[in-house]
Symmetry: C2
């Protein structure tokens, strides 16, 4: 494929727009790590893999081979075509078009989760992606994302998940109040992470299934969401910093949970 | 001040270049949070504050008032002048030119530090700034930065520290091997944070003074640095993620240390 102005190239490039992703139910993952994790963990959702001859050679073992083994459609393209398809300035020679998954909150709760995180109003793509990556690393069972948050299938979010988007269910488009009600009904405690919390993280009750509830980067959680949670927990600030950024706070909370939840398991 | 092409405007704008920062010993901090923290915590190093009439009104209480009280030189400028001086697209109407501090490793060690972090080869400005912010929040005594790392006074790093650059000493230009030797002589244990570590973070000995040693974002720590440390500690990965990003790993390690070091102090 060598025409950067072909219809197919345009249709892949158009997936950088939220409206097109929403209409088609597809999104793009760029770069070797993301494509490899998609091929490895969600091959049934990979519609097409596009890569340059150089990338085909370089990632023969961890992308091209597994993609062909899984019977995926693999297309060799020129660097110009790849650049025209990609959102990133340096997509490293490959990308894949993937069906957007549609896990539901019901699916997640039916599986008996122990650790969840709910993003209520996260606007920064890097923060959203980093929380998904941190949730994966901490062994969370799923990430829940409200309808007011950034689209987790936007190119910048996908990149910053570093492949974690394919490792755990990410439920999107949720209503926050309804989600908190559903969590409670399922026996999952909701813990608002908020600097105003009376409970410091080291004193929080992290036994049993729970969900961290994270607010907006700038203004945190609205009072009605905090009040609807079972506890409000603050990450202690020991120095002069005003706060931690959202992704750091979420990761610290999730790792504190992992430490408690896993203390009965084998050493991590 | 209303001429965006004046010598003074050019000389401030030139501080976005590392060579100019290095030659002049000055850097720029942009936006209300950074300028406020500079005025509050390092007024003796603030050479000039530039702000628009709108910013002067909006930040009268937390920037303009304290700046005048501290006897600082405050200049009202047009939005065009501010935009020409600034690196950020939206500096929010104010910036300050600040003398680069020059704390030394000897100063830091002489103060009897309990918790330090050493960035050996951090290249991403956002990561470096986020680690400084996380170190501040975790109550670290200082951040040490090797000569191979990004310049912590670059605009993007300064921004991502969210003011923490003015809260704790940040020692730059260090030789890694000499620093590890100096730490040992001062009774500060060095803990390499590395995915290959045999010791999982929950099992690490975090009693007593110690310094987290962080590697490069992509390739981690070289074997000779790992081997020169007192222990190699991994943040456990519970899910399918390959790794955590550098800033997250550093923040988790620093907060684990804070939890142990502060357990004898008042609750955080």
């Amino acid at each position: 494929m060598d025409n950067p102005r072909s219809d197919r190239v345009r249709s892949v490039a158009a997936l950088s727009k939220r409206s097109v992703r929403s209409r088609t139910g597809r999104f793009v993952v760029e770069g070797p790590q993301g494509v490899r994790e998609a091929v490895r963990h969600a091959p049934d959702r990979v519609r097409d893999v596009y890569l340059t001859a150089e990338a085909a050679a370089r990632y023969a073992g961890d992308v091209l081979g597994p993609a062909r083994e899984a019977g995926l459609r693999v297309h060799e393209v020129t660097p110009e075509v790849l650049a025209a398809m990609a959102d990133a300035e340096a997509p490293q020679g490959l990308l894949a078009v993937v069906d957007t998954p549609a896990p539901t909150l019901e699916d997640v709760l039916a599986a008996g989760p122990r650790l969840l995180v709910l993003l209520t109003n996260v606007r920064d793509p890097g923060n959203a992606g980093t929380v998904i990556r941190g949730a994966d690393a901490a062994g969370a069972d799923a990430v829940l994302v409200s309808d007011a948050s950034v689209d987790v299938h936007a190119p910048k979010v996908v990149r910053s998940t570093a492949g974690s988007l394919f490792h755990l269910p990410v439920v999107t488009g949720l209503d926050v109040a309804a989600t908190l009600t559903a969590l409670r009904a399922a026996g999952v405690r909701s813990l608002a992470a908020d600097g105003t919390g009376a409970t410091a993280l080291p004193d929080a009750d992290l036994d049993g299934p729970h969900c961290w509830v994270m607010g907006n980067e700038a203004w945190g959680l609205p009072a009605e969401v905090r009040d609807a949670c079972d506890d409000i927990v603050r990450v202690p600030i020991h120095g002069l910093a005003e706060s931690l950024n959202l992704a750091m706070a979420a990761t610290i909370c999730l790792y504190a949970s992992a430490g408690v939840l896993r203390s009965g398991d084998r050493p991590g």
